[in-house]
């Protein structure tokens, strides 16, 4: 680089590099700042200066090369390399510019991704599930009934499926061409069993049934009978209170059996309904038997509390081992004595050393031995029907 021409080129290149760095820093700062600091004009001006300086430098180099051309026969060993280099530079430069031009405009706006993609995701589709309030906007009666029901916390669309198409079809029906899209739950057991089929993996506190067992318990011959035959899906009255306190029978009573007309939104929940029935209306002999035993102080609903398959058909206490009785009768080390006979499960006290019971399986229901403390068995079907009035 002893050639003064070359030195001039070198200075031009350094100047170009400094200008380029300035352009980049200014552009970056402007992109990061809320308001442009340098502004478009300054940046363009500086960029133009960069290009100019580059051109000056390159021109100087080319001029120097042309002066050396005469010597190319001796020192021309690099000429083909130079030609290749220029070709590669042209291709590479074109590729760099092409790449920059192909970057989507919003790329990097919020991070290393296409910024517009966020909005694309927002408008990817219209919400299809409408929510209960939209449903109740048209289906007022069902909405009010449902609001009083044990299922009130559950969305209409959990059973009916997404209502988007249904709502759209109703809204467009005015034109007389759009086909109405219904959202009807099939009248089979299946939709109810999605939630209520008895499965070991379901939490035991969740009401669940084996449909065949359930129907046989009520002597229903057709084992495919839809649940909706007896249970109105919008007012099944699965009561949150124990049956006896609530005074409404879960299957037999339905609101509109007595209450004609539309549902009154201000009416109390079924839980607070005045007495309609007592258990003894139907189970008179069982009630009489129960009154003579040690548990007589308890209301029926204390044990037969929530609506469960096992309650109506096979008895809750039988299907859940000893746990149910232990809710009251377990001896917890730190609990205050409650005045009830308790045992420290699973250690069963040997009250009669002369006649010890055989080893008991852990899951054996207490009532297999202790039923005499409660009420007689086999008196449950006294009057499965009637007694509603």
């Amino acid at each position: 680089m002893a050639d003064p021409q070359n030195r001039r080129s070198l200075i031009a290149f350094v100047f170009a590099a400094v200008l380029l760095a300035t352009v980049l820093i200014m552009a970056r700062a402007d992109a990061l700042a809320r308001r442009p600091v340098f502004g478009l004009a300054t940046i363009v001006l500086a960029a133009a200066g960069t290009v100019l300086a580059l051109a000056v430098g390159l021109g100087g180099l080319l001029a120097a090369r042309r002066r050396r051309e005469d010597l190319s026969q001796v020192r021309g060993s690099w000429s083909h390399v130079l030609r290749l280099g220029v070709a590669l530079l042209v291709i590479g430069g074109a590729a760099i510019v092409a790449r920059a031009a192909l970057v989507p405009d919003s790329y990097g706006a919020y991070g290393y991704f296409r910024g517009d993609a966020v909005r694309d995701a927002m408008v990817a589709r219209r919400p299809s599930h409408q929510g209960r309030d939209v449903c109740a906007g048209c289906h007022e009666t069902e909405g009010r009934l449902h609001a009083k029901d044990f299922h009130s916390g559950i969305q209409c669309e959990s059973c009916h499926g997404a209502g988007g198409e249904h709502v759209a079809s109703v809204a467009a029906r005015a034109d007389g061409k759009t086909e109405h899209v219904p959202v009807v739950v099939p009248r089979t057991q299946e939709p109810c069993l999605w939630c209520h089929r008895r499965l070991a993996a379901r939490p035991s506190s969740f009401p669940q049934i084996d449909p065949q067992e359930h129907l046989r318990g009520f002597a229903v011959a057709d084992l495919e009978t839809p649940c909706m035959r007896c249970h109105n899906p919008h007012e099944p009255l699965f009561l949150t209170r124990p049956l006896r306190e609530a005074r409404l029978h879960p299957v037999i009573q339905q609101c509109r059996d007595c209450h004609a007309g539309d549902v009154d939104a201000a009416a109390p929940r079924p839980d607070d309904h005045p007495v309609v029935f007592e258990c003894r209306y139907c189970h008179a002999d069982l009630a009489a038997d129960f009154a003579g035993r040690s548990h007589r102080e308890l209301p029926c609903g204390r044990c037969h509390q929530a609506h469960r398959e096992s309650e109506t058909a096979t008895r809750i206490v039988r299907s859940h081992g000893p746990e149910f009785c232990l809710l009251c009768h377990r001896d917890f080390p730190l609990r205050e004595p409650v005045g009830l006979p308790t045992i420290a499960w699973p250690a069963h006290p040997e009250r009669n050393p002369q006649n010890p019971p055989p080893p008991l399986p852990d899951d054996m229901p207490c009532i297999d031995c202790h039923m005499d403390r409660i009420h007689a068995r086999g008196m449950t079907t006294a009057a499965a029907t009637g007694g509603a009035s």
Binding site: L40, A109, R125, P127, S158, A162, P203
Partner: protein, 260 residues
């Protein structure tokens, strides 16, 4: 985007190309059309400021009844192609030898119709666990996406840019939770979007909406009064595969050791 009509966008675009040609990848975001770095606005004129949200999800495994409502809802809400799942419910049954048997009710009805183990197996424990994208804070999928088509929004949702994805499936391999798949019709990566089209207009994700037992919950970690935060402060929770350092934002209450 609220671009003023007289914005010299062509000039900006030209300048962007010049700057990016010179500066390469470092300036990828340079002069992009983001107005003051603000958030994109959702459709319909709804005000949604993504700086005010950081979405998280919680699953209470004790409450899940395995009804499959979430799977059915997700499929219709998001038009998930048949045979692929953005969310699903696993059933675990532990037999007398403490061996776990896991299965899923696949298909359209997504309904379990019988127990997995026969009574003779001496079942010790059984429960359901819903699964979905964990929207990890340190998401592997968006780390490994070679083109930046898989990304995390400022409000904490991991999304796929369907118009930019090349369909290489590297993210499918990298996701430790197998929540991603290649959409057989669009040929791009597909996954749970946290129902981004719903949460940005104030609606809950479809799976949360239809869950009958509130086993699925979602909430905003930037809102101190948010119900989900209250639950996470009160309850003990676990994450899926925490040893991988993905920092999921899907919190599992009552998670069993067997669940991976």
């Amino acid at each position: 985007m609220s671009r003023p009509p007289d914005d010299p966008s062509d000039r900006r675009r030209f300048l962007r190309i010049v700057v990016q040609s010179a500066g390469g990848f470092f300036f990828a975001g340079c002069l992009a059309d983001a107005e003051d770095g603000g958030p994109p606005a959702p459709p319909g004129g709804t005000a949604y400021d993504w700086n005010k949200f950081y979405w998280a999800y919680a699953v209470d495994t004790d409450r899940c009844i395995g009804c499959g409502s979430c799977m059915r809802a997700c499929r219709t809400e998001n038009l998930v192609p048949e045979g692929f799942y953005r969310t699903w419910v696993e059933r675990y049954e532990i037999d007398a030898d403490d061996k776990a048997h896991v299965d899923i009710a696949l298909g359209r009805s997504a309904s379990f119709d019988r127990d997995a183990l026969p009574p003779a197996a001496g079942r010790r424990k059984a429960f359901f666990v819903p699964k979905l994208c964990n929207h990890c804070k340190n998401s592997v999928c968006s780390q490994v996406c070679p083109v930046g088509a898989s990304y995390q929004t400022k409000d904490g949702v991991v999304l796929v840019d369907e118009q930019h994805c090349v369909g290489c499936a590297y993210c499918v391999q990298a996701c430790p939770y197998a929540t991603r798949f290649i959409n057989p019709h669009k040929h791009v990566a597909d996954k749970c979007t946290f129902c981004y089209h719903r949460i940005t207009v104030g609606l809950p994700p479809a799976c949360v909406l239809v869950c009958p037992t509130k086993a699925r919950m979602y909430g905003n970690l930037k809102d101190r009064k948010d119900e989900l935060q209250a639950i996470l402060h009160r309850r003990r929770y676990m994450l899926l595969k925490p040893e991988l350092g993905t920092n999921p934002k899907c919190y599992y209450l009552g998670l069993d050791l067997e669940v991976v």
